[in-house]
Symmetry: C2
Subunit: 125 residues, 2 copies
Amino acid sequence: MIDSGLSNTPEPPYYAVIFTSQRTPGDAGYGAMAERMAELAAQQPGYLGMESARSADGVGITVSYWKDENAIRHWKRQAEHLAAQQQGRKQWYSAYDIRVARVERAYEFIAPLEHLKPAFREMKG
Amino acid sequence: MIDSGLSNTPEPPYYAVIFTSQRTPGDAGYGAMAERMAELAAQQPGYLGMESARSADGVGITVSYWKDENAIRHWKRQAEHLAAQQQGRKQWYSAYDIRVARVERAYEFIAPLEHLKPAFREMKG
């Protein structure tokens, strides 16, 4: 779903890496790194998509989707990513959890157009 | 990890429900419902934890953790939760994805205290 910030993944099974984190205060290069890592991840073999959200209280969740465990291992060891991981432990995160999970089934909901764009409908009507 | 907003889950394997969503504009009772659902989920059999984040652009991710697939099915069919799901499709979400995944391995990082509280260290020193 290109417009919504949600990932358009294939039929399961595939893998998800659930990365939940608590940020330390301040940016300290974090925003630029996060953007670069999203760009870099998307170039890796077996990448299927990524979704990310961070609340004002500093709790963030990034879920990335991968074809198989090999793709995850490859991304984990990518050189620039390794440097970011190290800096993350040193500076950006007060705590994080990484969970590797096999996606077994998935459902999608997209609201009908009339739900989303009443003004547009009125124009057409 | 009580202090960080991250869940303290047991050793894998267990299950994760990854709920990624795009909100419609405005609250319209959403905040109260989300709070109530978090409270209600925590009372269900097999509940292991929940993490949630929503960015300013409306993309949200909630990951809930469950002992097994039965616990997920039970929660999916809980009456008050069913009503919230229906209202969600009617009003709160323009799109969402639900992915059910088996967590196979997990890693945790907690920053050493001196990383987090330099001011406190100085006071002690």
